[in-house]
């Protein structure tokens, strides 16, 4: 059976290879039924490479030749990751807190990607959405049931418009979205920094750029509402993210516009000949994608933090690219991938406490996961897999396109 690859890529079947060893055949047979093997191998490869990096930088032990000690550190570090992320309710809560914006921002990348657009502007769209949302949050005085949906709506609209601008520019002038989104990210960051220093936003009596605080009623309610423990920070933003994933599934699998977006994404010429309007579709795709990122920003400010800072988007917009790649641009895949990244982050803090290994190693692991996912040929080469396919869902079409 030929396993169809997700979303384009090269979906050639198994290559005829008479000398296929048994193990390879076994792996390939597993892979034929699902697309899980590649992500799993990518994660394993990344963990192995990460272990090597941790080991090689343990200078003191290397000098003493204490190989067992190094292996012990690596073992402790990798055991601390799941223990810190899943070992307690607090850990699970932190994992959810990290995963929530990653799901939404990952959906943002995926929606654009499946429409044939390379949206790396999630950071800017998060800034736009978050700032709009926090403004509604701290300036309104109503009951939560009115205020919270309004703040989320503000995030959707602002993030959508910020993304839509890029789509509009692309549709109207052909300005490549990779360039315009990089630029709009910086513009949004600088606008946020400026806004946070204006009287309208800045918290009275503060010198640093930080917004006024959202009242408790205006914040997304706690996810673990039955617990009095204030350390459990997980909030309903997670449910919003799950709803976003469900919406994305509905959009692409059930709706007319999703069908048009997918068609446009896989073959723009075919879409044009079929009478679809590329300009509208491009703007629409970027609007919906931006809206997802806007929600991610909103969930950060009215959920996790309760106020906005110049860095509430952090590196989420970029991590989300990795999440979307790992999740193969599918809603379920993205939720799982975001959880994995959340585990790395929440567990990484525990690891840093217990083993003195800096949290930055998580960044390295994430980058390596992206590498092994994006280069399936490399992963297959490393693991001696013969079957082809499982390519990344997107191919860059050059600056002119």
């Amino acid at each position: 059976m030929t396993a169809a690859t997700v979303d384009g890529g090269s979906s050639s079947g198994p290559r005829g290879d008479e000398r296929t060893p048994k193990a390879v055949a076994f792996f390939d047979r597993i892979d034929a039924y699902n697309n899980l093997l590649l992500p799993v191998l990518a994660i394993v490869s990344a963990l192995v490479a990460g272990a090597v990096i941790i080991g090689l930088t343990d200078i003191d032990r290397l000098k003493e030749g204490d190989i067992l000690g190094i292996l012990g550190t690596i073992k402790d570090a990798y055991l601390a990751l799941p223990a810190g992320a899943l070992g307690s309710l607090n850990g699970i809560s932190e994992t959810i807190v990290s995963a929530t914006p990653l799901i939404l921002a990952g959906l943002c990348f995926a929606i654009a990607a499946r429409s044939g657009l390379f949206n790396i502007g999630a950071t800017g769209q998060m800034f736009a959405g978050g700032m709009a949302s926090v403004w509604v949050g701290f300036s309104m005085n109503g009951p939560g049931i009115v205020q919270v949906p309004l703040a989320l709506l503000a995030g959707i609209v602002a993030g959508g418009i910020w993304g839509g601008i890029v789509g509009f520019l692309k549709a109207r002038t052909g300005a490549h979205e990779v360039i315009t989104t990089i630029m709009t990210n910086y513009i949004a960051g600088l606008l946020t920094l400026w806004l946070l220093k204006t009287d309208a936003f800045q918290q009275p009596g503060k010198d640093n750029p930080i917004s006024k605080t959202v009242r408790p009623e205006g914040r997304l309610p706690d996810l673990f509402f039955w617990s009095d423990n204030p350390a459990l920070r997980a909030h309903w933003g997670f449910l919003v993210a799950i709803a976003g994933a469900m919406f994305t599934w509905w959009l692409f699998e059930r709706s007319k516009i999703g069908f048009e977006l997918r068609t446009f994404g896989s073959n723009a010429d075919a879409a044009r000949y079929a009478g679809m309007k590329p300009a509208t579709l491009t703007t629409m795709a970027m609007f919906i994608a931006g809206a997802m990122a806007g929600l991610a920003g909103a969930s950060q400010v009215i959920g996790t933090q309760g106020y906005a800072t110049e860095s509430f988007a952090g590196s989420i917009g970029f991590d989300a690219i990795a999440v979307a790649l790992l999740g193969r641009n599918k809603p379920t895949g993205i939720v799982f991938a975001a959880f994995l990244f959340g585990i790395l982050e929440a567990g990484g803090r525990r690891m840093q406490l217990e083993t003195d290994i800096p949290l930055d190693v998580v960044l390295v692991l994430r980058a390596l996961i992206v590498l092994f996912i994006a280069a399936p040929a490399l992963t297959r080469l490393l693991w001696r897999l013969k079957r082809e396919g499982g390519g990344s869902a997107l191919q860059f079409r050059g600056w002119g396109a």
């Binding site: 360039i179 800096p358 980058a367 390596l368 992206v370 280069a375 860059f396 079409r397 050059g398």
Partner: protein, 443 residues
């Protein structure tokens, strides 16, 4: 500037670039101008009108004389208000002529002069009643632009040969890290002084970034991984790895992160040229190398066999292959060379600051990407764009000292807005090498 929105075109609605090009090519309007050119000319005219309005409205608000200090105790003064009105009037006239009949081949010259006028008027407005070091500002603009020039040249070299390089940031960062680490260690070797130790570090930086660039080329060419994704992977990876190493190795061994900063090296005779001497010829070796690089690179790219082949491979690899050029080998070589250039540029931070900090490049690599695009994939265009962007940096610096009430964020934003304006083809379009980003398979 309100020029980022596209005005309603007076032609059939543009759906895609493909049709735009088709319309532009097919319909030659009278006067030898295509529709696209006429649209650009009109948009430029509108921009002049807007600029004139902004100047008249805002830049005439401050009274008093702004004093610009030059070298050797000389200075000149400009009346802020008077200059504002003058510039507004001049722009209005320029706009009129531009909209009426255009400037033909002098369009860019006029644009440059108008920009300089607005810039001077803006500075006078900001410094009205006070004085500031004009020469110092220009000199620091040159300094700020140096890493951008290296990054942009690396980017141009990759993209001209058909490989998209989003990883300039990562290549610069790895250069900064490696030169700091190796330079610090090498300086303590017996027989090597601070200075030679530093250059050992620079060499190591070039090698490290060249290796990363090789990785970029290998993944993009051998495995045909999407080049934007590879670029992002390298950026992530280098940021993560250098931060990790910096907190795990450098903080525990401060000796590994302590290089001497590189002083200015005044070029004899040239440094005595009034004004220009202080701006251009009292700088570090990095500034001179950047200028030299641009000259050499331009010559090679447009006058040598290598350059012709590189451009052929970037525009039409199939044709180049047919003529016997080894497309993939040339791409590998150029990308690796570009990595070495970026590594050299990365060590600028070590030379300037004398140590490595986490994420020290702080997005400069992405601005270098903007420089590539605004400079239209040409080294001379890139150095102009880099100097311009460097100028924005140093103006933003100076503005915060002058306390004008104008947020420095808006000055810093200008390069990014300009890039969008340029890629959107509002006043002239910037087109990249045709084959950039597409993997090539020889037959």
């Amino acid at each position: 500037m309100s020029i980022s929105e596209s005005p309603a075109p007076d032609q059939t609605p543009i759906e895609t670039t493909a049709t735009t090009t088709a319309t532009a090519d097919a319909s030659n309007a009278p006067g030898g101008m295509t529709f696209e050119e006429r649209r650009h000319a009109r948009n430029l005219g509108i921009s002049y009108v807007v600029l004139a309005g902004v100047t008249a409205l805002f830049l005439t608000r401050h009274e008093g004389t702004a004093t610009f200090n030059l070298d050797g105790g000389r200075s000149f003064g400009l009346p802020a208000q008077g200059l504002g009105w003058f510039v507004a009037a001049a722009l209005a006239v320029t706009a009129g002529i531009q909209l009426w009949r255009g400037y033909g081949k002098y369009t860019n010259v006029v644009l440059a002069m108008a920009s300089i006028l607005v810039f001077m008027s803006f500075l006078s407005w900001a410094a009205a009643g006070r004085s500031f070091s004009f020469i110092g500002m220009l000199a620091s603009a040159v300094t700020f632009s140096t890493p951008l020039i290296f990054g942009a040249c690396a980017g141009i070299m990759c993209e001209r040969s058909g490989v998209v390089n989003i990883a300039i940031e990562g290549l610069l960062l790895s250069g900064a890290f490696t030169s700091a680490l190796v330079g610090s260690i090498a300086a303590s070797w017996p027989g090597l002084g601070d200075s030679s130790g530093f250059w050992v570090g620079v060499l190591a930086a070039m090698i490290a970034s060249a290796l990363l660039a090789w990785l970029l080329a290998w993944l993009a060419i051998r495995f045909k991984v999407d080049q934007v994704i590879v670029g992002f992977f390298i950026n992530f990876f280098v940021l993560g790895l250098t931060s990790f190493l910096s907190s795990r190795v450098l903080t525990e061994n401060p000796d590994y992160n302590d290089t001497p900063t590189l002083g200015a090296w005044k070029i004899p005779l040239l440094e005595r040229i009034p004004i220009l001497g202080q701006i251009l010829f009292q700088q570090t070796v990095f500034v001179y190398s950047a200028m030299l690089l641009v000259v050499v690179f331009t010559w090679f790219l447009f006058r040598s066999k290598w350059g012709l082949r590189t451009r052929a491979v970037g525009e039409h690899p199939r044709a180049a292959d047919t003529l016997g050029i080894n497309v993939l080998r040339l791409r590998y070589r150029n990308v690796i060379l570009a990595g070495a250039i970026a590594g050299f540029g990365g060590s600028w931070w070590t030379a300037t600051i004398g140590r490595f900090n986490e994420n020290i490049t702080n997005g400069r690599g992405f601005i270098a990407l903007a420089v590539v695009i605004v400079g239209r994939w040409h080294p001379v265009g890139a150095i102009s764009a880099a100097l311009l962007f460097g100028l924005f940096d140093s103006v933003a610096d100076k503005l915060s000292l002058l306390n004008t009430g104008l947020p420095s964020e808006f000055i810093k934003m200008t390069p990014y807005l300009m890039t969008i304006v340029v890629v959107a083809g509002f006043v002239g379009r910037s087109r990249g090498p045709k084959a950039a980003g597409q993997p090539y398979e020889s037959q």
